[in-house]
């Protein structure tokens, strides 16, 4: 078995992990599993794609940055896409989730997120049709790096980007007042309110981080695989599995869980075939629920 699966797994794992950060934050702070999170990914990606083509239309063809397949337009578009996805998440919260949350039935919010997911995805299908598209059709030559592993410049850049983002979010959560408020709210909501934490602003930050990272994960899929309306929905199960494997509320856990699932998927593709890939996250999920339901870094719920 070639070691190539390590690179493939790390890449898939980064996409899953970035998405799982949003899932785990929503779950621990707003206390519901958001089934629309995958569709934030897809919406962010399509928004980024739209901005890229808008830039292409105004500035003409821009040459890509030396070894990469994309140039500055994609980077600018990614930032705009992240902002767009964050606003979309905030908007959906304002219109739907916050109202249902105030009624006090957590599971109704889950159901609403399921309905919203269906509507969001179908709206994408309506606007862009279900045909897959791409950021770039250029083919990159993979460089051999030893041990039978090959990697493209794009892949290196995206792995580095993931590392930077994860580190950034981790520092935000552990070193800033906002992050500490978020942790306080997730550990004990009532006590957090009593000590005067502004719950509304923490909720907003949660959606902004979750939405923005979902957009990055989606764009990664767009660059390395393809862009489809279902791209986010198909990531939902791996993301949930990663969040639970890592322990709900833990950001390093979500990323590690994502990497484990990514590596397991890539290994399974080599061993038993690509068609069973989606079953891997389910098996891991069931194993975690039976053996250690609080996950790797989770804390027991009170």
């Amino acid at each position: 078995m070639s070691l190539q699966f390590v690179v493939d797994g790390l890449l898939t794992g980064s996409m899953i992990g970035l998405g799982a950060i949003g899932v785990t934050l929503t779950y621990s702070i707003l206390r519901f599993s958001n089934f629309a999170h995958g569709d934030f990914m897809a919406w962010g990606t399509y928004a980024t794609l739209a901005v890229v083509s808008a830039i292409g239309a105004t500035f003409g063809k821009v040459a890509p940055i030396a070894p990469l397949s994309f140039g500055w337009p994609l980077l600018v578009a990614l930032v705009i896409g992240m902002a767009f996805t964050a606003i979309l998440a905030l908007l959906l919260d304002k219109v739907l989730f916050s109202r249902l949350r105030s009624q006090g039935q957590a599971i109704i919010v889950v159901m609403a997120s399921f309905g919203a997911s269906m509507a969001l995805r179908s709206l994408l299908e309506f606007t862009f049709t279900s045909r897959p598209t791409y950021f770039s059709r250029a083919i990159q030559i993979a460089m051999p790096v030893g041990f039978g592993i090959r990697i493209t410049p794009d892949q290196i850049a995206l792995l580095l980007l993931t590392a930077v983002l994860v580190l950034g979010v981790h520092l935000l959560m552990t070193r800033t007042q906002t992050g500490r408020s978020m942790q306080a709210l997730s550990q004990n909501a009532a006590l957090a309110r009593i000590v005067g934490i502004d719950v509304a602003s923490v909720v907003r930050v949660t959606w902004v981080i979750g939405g923005a990272l979902a957009c990055v994960a989606g764009v990664m899929i767009g660059i390395l695989v393809q862009i489809r309306p279902f791209m986010g929905f198909d990531m939902l199960l791996p993301m949930f599995a990663a969040a639970i494997l890592g322990g709900i509320g833990s950001i390093p856990g979500a990323v590690l869980g994502g990497l484990i699932i990514g590596l397991a998927e890539a290994g399974a593709v080599q061993l038993i075939g690509a068609e069973w890939r989606a079953a891997v996250s389910f098996i891991i999920l069931m194993a975690v629920l039976f053996v250690r339901p609080i996950g790797l870094f989770g804390v027991r719920e009170r």
Partner: protein, 326 residues
Amino acid sequence: MDLLGYGAFFLTTALIFSLVTLGLNLQWGLIGLFNVGLAGFVAIGAYTSALLTTPDDAARLGGFGLPILVGWLGAMVVGGIAAALTGMATLRLRSDYLAITTFGVAVVVQLVALNAQKLTGGPFGIGFIPRPFGSLAEAPLLFNLSNLAVVSAVTLIAYLALEHLSRSPWGRVLKALREDERAAISLGKSARFYRVQAFAVGGAIMALAGALQAHFTGFIAPDNYLPILTFQVWVMLIVGGSGSNLGAVIGSILVWGIWAGSGTLTSVLFAPEQQARAASLQIVAIGVMLCVILLIRPNGLFGDRPRRPRLGKQAKVTTAKSSSGS
């Protein structure tokens, strides 16, 4: 004549949906278990019954040629066991974990249906599933009406059984668990045990519905069991009102009417090449409808869900009034 035939066909499909909704109502309406993978359980039932009753097929496992009733029973048993296993894995945990796991079940069932060619016929599905009144197929009207009679009878039996169950001591325990878990547990009822039971019975009913559908159309394929099915049934239950079996049946007929009607409308209004896009707009509309109902009328048409938080507030208000009055 044609209209009558179409009416019978429409009602048959709607009643099969009602059966799924009744199963979901047992899981969600009665005890509050959130099943986002019900398409998976419907598929399990359909494939089980198809495998048991189809004539022998060299290309895949089985085709055992058993009677249709055996197929239906088999579907209920396998669907019930699958639901019980899912329940046992997750019901001691937070309710969201059940949602995520059932979602995973549906994904895996879909994968098996697509890829395990030896078992399920792969993407091409299974054909030649015996139909209860196959000999009547030359007279479409008679065929449709007799199918409608069978499906109505099964739905009626399930409805009466569920009504009886929800009034029985067993059903009262379920309601007690939904309303106040701590109180019910303090009376010595094992929450997890009762929940697994309810989830398994619900799964068995969904599987039976899948089997009915398979024998009604005579052909099944993985595409019949996509997440959209789960979504449709949820909307049916929410519109009808969760907790009410009558609401489940009427909600199913109503929503299926809207769905089929808007489908006909889009096929009339849009050019053939635009149909796929129009169909996705149809899903958007139903998704928005679900969210709007959850926001403005969470009890649906016939729902009986008393909401504890509200009662609690009222109680507080009355005590506040009485204390201020004194």
